[in-house]
Symmetry: C2
């Protein structure tokens, strides 16, 4: 295929006419498809249905320590839930707090607590003139929404194939005491599917922040969310690295079963140092008597151990893999050589990140929408919804069926082509 850039004006105009004609045909199909959010498909949810059977009216709802999980109590989670999620988080159970149904909620509460009460005795952030967070971009829109909501200033840090630009992170974190945190999705990152390299993790662990209450918000959302058995990314365990580096309190590590069992009805957790745990529990004991222990028990009895989780994740992968490949193959087939976009082939996670020609992302997403295919809003992967290059688009292949996905992706590449041609003709 000839790169669009090398086409003459006449060729572009002719191509535009062809693409517009195809686009009209697509619009006539009256599609209603959604590739906007990282939601599991119904087929994926079906594989967890047996979890609904593990507890019934004759079940013993006592945990391994004899605690009646039906009643009040146990602030930080039942023993075996800590053990299971500790295995998943690759830490020891004494570093865990088990929460309710949403790790996003835990992250929100972690920021909220820092705002009103500070971290480990430091000044509450709400009493400071300026609080800043580093935001590797492209990143997760809901992270950015939390910091924006609390009036925290967000600084873009570009992602590289190894993780965030660590030269920039080190420089900023060590020089500016107003920088209190960084949002990270270190494995199969949202949206690029990048896993931080060993060197990146070690450089994180060795940070020397100007602010003593600087924390890394390590959202390990996709820790076990591989697409392949034989090609898996490996992420160094950050708490361990931080301890070795003499920085034990540097990280809050978040995790949940949302995309393992049922999103919204799973179990979330935090793993962090004893000092941080103590600090958190002082607040948590005011906020609640305890989280849903029956649901913790349900998860433990269903998955049993980390092997059970891995076996379950292979079932998810079997459903997800063909969808990812369908999208990637279409991108390759339709866009290869045209030089109007680039993308990464991830080995796990929930997203494919597409970078269009500069200034085209909004136009592409708008065209998709007008033809009945909802994409994540252009800009959503950047703080304040502002992608400075108007280039990045997040593709979420999980929710539609394979058939829907094929139709949606065909439309998506058509819109990319059309918007790119229009852009080139503008120039």
């Amino acid at each position: 295929m000839k790169p669009y850039r090398e086409m003459s004006r006449e060729e572009l105009l002719q191509l535009k006419a062809e693409l517009e004609s195809k686009y009209k045909e697509a619009q006539a199909k009256d599609l209603h498809l959604d590739m906007s959010r990282g939601k599991p498909s119904a087929e994926q949810l079906d594989i967890s249905m047996e979890m609904m059977d593990v507890l019934n009216s004759s079940a013993d709802l006592k945990d391994s320590e004899g605690v009646d999980c039906r009643n009040y109590g146990v602030l930080d989670g039942v023993k075996e839930a800590k053990e299971l999620l500790a295995q998943m988080s690759e830490v020891s159970p004494d570093k865990m707090i088990i929460y309710g149904n949403s790790s996003l909620n835990v992250m929100y509460d972690t920021v909220a607590r820092a705002m009103t009460h500070g971290i480990m005795g430091h000044t509450p952030w709400c009493k400071l003139d300026r609080v800043k967070f580093l935001c590797p971009v492209p990143g997760y829109d809901r992270h950015f929404s939390i910091t924006e909501y609390f009036g925290i200033e967000m600084i873009n840090v570009p992602m590289t194939p190894e993780g965030p630009d660590m030269d920039m992170v080190e420089e900023l974190v060590s020089s500016d005491p107003a920088i209190k945190g960084i949002w990270c999705v270190p494995k199969y990152s949202n949206p690029q599917g990048i896993t931080y390299s060993d060197e990146t993790v070690r450089r994180f662990a060795h940070l020397k922040p100007a602010a003593e209450d600087f924390r890394i918000f390590w959202d390990n959302a996709y820790c076990v969310h591989h697409l392949y058995d034989d090609q898996q990314d490996f992420l160094l365990e950050i708490l361990d690295e931080c301890e070795k580096a003499g920085n034990p309190d540097l990280v809050y590590k978040f995790c949940s079963t949302s995309k393992i069992s049922f999103p919204g009805s799973g179990v979330a957790c935090i793993a962090t140092s004893p000092n941080n745990l103590k600090d958190i529990k002082k607040q948590l004991m005011i906020q609640t008597i305890g989280h849903d222990k029956v649901n913790q028990l349900r998860h433990v009895r269903f998955f049993k151990d980390i092997d059970g989780i891995h076996a379950h994740m292979r079932k998810h992968a079997a459903i997800m893999r063909p969808k990812f490949e369908a999208v990637l193959d279409t991108l390759e087939r339709e866009l290869g050589g045209l030089e109007i976009g680039s993308w990464i082939r991830p080995r796990g996670g929930y997203f494919i990140s597409f970078d269009a020609m500069e200034g085209c992302a909004k136009a592409i997403v708008a065209k998709c929408k007008e033809a009945g295919v909802v994409m994540t809003g252009a800009g959503a992967t950047y703080p304040y919804g502002k992608d400075p290059k108007d280039s990045n688009i997040r593709i979420a292949p999980s929710f539609p069926t394979k058939e829907e996905l094929a139709v949606a992706t065909d439309l998506f590449v058509l819109c990319i082509k059309l918007a790119s041609v229009e852009k080139l003709l503008e120039a």
Copy 2:
């Protein structure tokens, strides 16, 4: 029985010797009993076990609107959960947000949100020099812990048999713009079991607060928690009264199924005006994608409607009633006429409030503890844990078995007598 006050020093000394001897006998029994927290008993939890069967692997987990409750989404609760909890809260479903497992958590978050973001556009409380709350006393220790945690100054307002002293409430609320809220348990109050009178509710609804962002925190925790079929307290619906009074935004009404199904694994909610709901949802959408809809569905399919809840609560009452009566009968039998304490006979809720002679509560609770019976800490029913008269003790009869309760209550009255005699001998 002769009042202790009328006894001579010799009589008191002789009585003291007898009581001490009995106390030593009791200590020798090596008791381990707990009347400290409002926890349902195992027998009560058993009556909800069938809830574990209503959803199984072949269940349809779509709600009445076709939403797949296994997946992300639905910020404010599934339709039928709103309907059920609206019936329980005596409001229309469009005034509801369904939350997670704990109304305490909802109350905490409501205060936290007001701290960082203010209420309906008003200055965030964390930006103000002083924020104050009114605290009807005796009251619920976990309410007071929340306001204390946020550095909110608490002002005691005495309870009367009709509810809080409304002369004082009106005077303070209308004159001091730093007063931003009041904690209320309006029905079968914690710990006295008092239900606010119609006049009290109407005076609340007609408050003219100096602070536009003043809110009543109406914790309707015991709305359906009657002990008797034929003697039930009735509470006027406050949101309705506020609307009539032209004060629609004055109240946050909290409720949950914690003491209906399983504490910690139930469903909590808030009911409030459209303006407040809109204000809350702006925050909630940042904090979470949604609460546990599967558990919402589980509750709805188990209880079906408000009649199902009432039928279920009658089962709880059948277990609770004899326990309450056992404690009350023992108090009556052992303390009647001695004039060393007073108590209220509640018709619902979870507690019996006992007022000892001034300066005796701590001594009584300490004596109980030394003989193996844990009571709620003396002072816990007051802000900052400070009961100015050192008089109030909260009795929680629900958790022990009837047999344990009999033993514990016998010890309790023994400790009351002993502490009272010691106090009188001091004088």
